[in-house]
């Protein structure tokens, strides 16, 4: 049983009163009584399809219960007890602390499964919720990751770096290794409650922990768009926010991913919905110009991280017109690997490493956008599949550099 000292005495008493539960549903984003009522209804509908109906506890932030629009406590409306947990950190704050609170509650209640709904639960259908619960409760999966409705240019850091990199390193083809909605088994909850170092603001580590720990992983289509996060102020902040923890995770799991060869698809629940169209104007020239500006100014910095052959390729790219601008998948994969290594070796300040990657990421976005701006959903999927394969193909390069960084020293 996990150490419960981190929980307040009030919450510990509440959990003790509740006794045992089979399922914990955590909704950290619910802020009002109305949203809480909606969520309860949806969770109830979702659980109608799960047999046998598990005894469930809903954990939510304190604020939702104190909303004057909700009847005090309203236990009469609910088929299962609900309990507020300590305040959840706001988006962008330390999420690992929020997850720890939810996992502690789940562990204390002895739940078989813990489902975290980080996106707006009122937009999630009962079926979607069911797809997060059922694989864990009925089929023995340890982790269910989300699949969101992906527009071409949504969650680009996930499409361009996180997903293909996780696939190549950990051998699991997950569309969204990082997301807001997950299903966890009791085993994985206990694993995640083990003391760990600071893990940043994005829940990037669940998929890697599960893959390295030999846990069963599945993914579920939730039929909702990628949840709107509190957007970082600019692209470089987004790169730092997502890729910093990712590179740290790679360093932590180095012993694991070096043994993995190839990748396998994971069981997927539900069907992918139609791809929604973007509303904005796709103008890659600004991204290309940002990359050229980076090339003109950051060559000294890049030469610390990248080998000369890559720099030559980048020089060639600067001479291409925006419409013909294409960053080869192999080159992009090697660039990401080189930066992950520079992050590990601390070739310079880690903030500088992530900052210097930003213009190159913009180059990838420009290249990707130029390729898929009018492509159909299937073509976009094929494009991302090719990118994933390229990361796998270049993995030996990364392993070699990781093991013998000096041998490849640029």
């Amino acid at each position: 049983m996990a150490d419960l000292d981190a929980l307040s005495s009030e919450l510990k008493d509440r959990l003790a009163q509740l006794g045992q539960a089979e399922l914990v549903v955590a909704v950290p984003g619910v802020a009002t009584g109305e949203a809480l009522r909606n969520t309860v209804e949806r969770v109830r509908s979702a659980l109608n399809g799960v047999t046998p109906g598990p005894k469930t506890v809903l954990v939510h932030p304190d604020g939702a219960m104190t909303d004057p629009s909700s009847a005090n406590g309203q236990p009469a409306l609910l088929p299962f007890p609900i309990t507020p947990v300590d305040r959840f950190p706001a988006p962008g704050e330390n999420l690992s602390e929020a997850y720890r609170s939810m996992f502690l509650a789940s562990s204390r209640l002895g739940a078989r499964a813990c489902v975290v709904v980080g996106s707006d639960p009122t937009t999630l259908s009962a079926e979607a919720l069911q797809r997060l619960v059922q694989p864990v409760v009925e089929q023995g999966f340890d982790l269910v990751t989300p699949c969101y409705l992906r527009r071409r240019f949504d969650a680009l850091l996930n499409s361009g770096v996180v997903s293909p990199l996780s696939r190549a390193l950990y051998g699991k083809r997950l569309r969204f290794p990082v997301g807001a909605d997950f299903g966890f088994s009791a085993r994985l909850v206990e694993r995640e409650l083990q003391p760990a170092t600071e893990r940043g603001v994005m829940p990037i580590w669940f998929a890697s922990d599960a893959a390295c720990g030999g846990f069963k992983i599945a993914q579920a289509h939730l039929d909702v768009p990628v949840p709107v996060q509190k957007d970082p102020p600019d692209v470089s902040a987004a790169v730092a926010q997502l890729l910093g923890p990712l590179f740290q995770d790679i360093e932590r799991n180095a012993a694991c991913w070096q043994k993995v060869r190839g990748s396998l698809p994971v069981p997927t629940f539900g069907m992918a919905g139609p791809m929604a169209e973007e509303t904005g104007v796709v103008d890659v020239s600004r991204m290309v110009e940002a990359f050229r500006l980076g090339y003109r100014n950051l060559q000294d910095v890049w030469s610390v991280v990248l080998p000369p052959a890559t720099l030559v390729e980048l020089k060639r790219l600067t001479q291409l017109a925006p419409e013909a601008f294409r960053l080869a998948d192999d080159l992009w994969a090697r660039i990401v690997y080189d930066f992950a290594l520079a992050f590990r070796l601390r070739s310079m300040s880690r903030d500088h490493v992530l900052g210097a990657l930003t213009p190159l990421y913009r180059a990838w976005v420009a290249s990707y956008a130029a390729e898929v701006r009018t492509a159909a959903a299937a073509a976009v999927e094929q494009r991302l599949e090719r990118l994933g394969t390229a990361f796998e193909t270049q993995k030996p390069y990364f392993v070699s550099r990781w093991r013998w960084p000096d041998r490849f020293n640029p």
Partner: protein, 235 residues
Amino acid sequence: MWEQAQQALNQSSDRVIAGLANLLPGIVALLVALALSAAAAWVLALLLRRFLRGIRFDERLEGWGLSGLADWSPSKSPTLLVTRTVSWLVVLVGFLIGIAAFDAAITSELAMQLFRYLPNVVAAVALFLLGNVLARFLARGVLISAVNHNVQYARLLSLGVKWLVLILAAAMALEHLGIGGKIVELAFGIMFGGIVLALALAVGLGSKDLVSRSLERQADKTTAPEEAPEPFRHV
């Protein structure tokens, strides 16, 4: 006459020989002090090098964001820089002790003055090195940040920051050395003020059009159609 001249010559050569004979123990003492200090420096450098390599000093420095120090080090190794600095300091101290062995007031006084001045030299060198590392770190940070914000004169900005910090460090180092006195302070004040004024003028004049365009956009905001946002979402 000839005898008197010969006597005077003999006396002066006696004085020279006596002076040389008086100096000889001091020279021997200086050589011994130098030899001993060189041996001590060698042993100390060896021990220090082993210790620093043991604690992976070079990697730790990089971790603390002081990787710029490697560029100033022999063979790109700050460990070597530290050990060589320490060993040369020991040799210098040995030299000063050797000088003090001369039985002459002037050499003793010189040695004492040098001893008193030594901490200032060490502090000045440390200040300048630290300033250099800081300048490179800040310059790189500004360069990367400016590029990521699409600032066209990013390199200029970065160079400005680098030289500002370098000049500040140099002025502080010179002040520690007691060189220049008020002139350095005055020159630094004039130069720093001049740079800030020049930058203010450059930004003010250079961005005149930018500001007016921005104000015009603000004024037309209600009538003009809004520019379509980019569809890219990164997180």
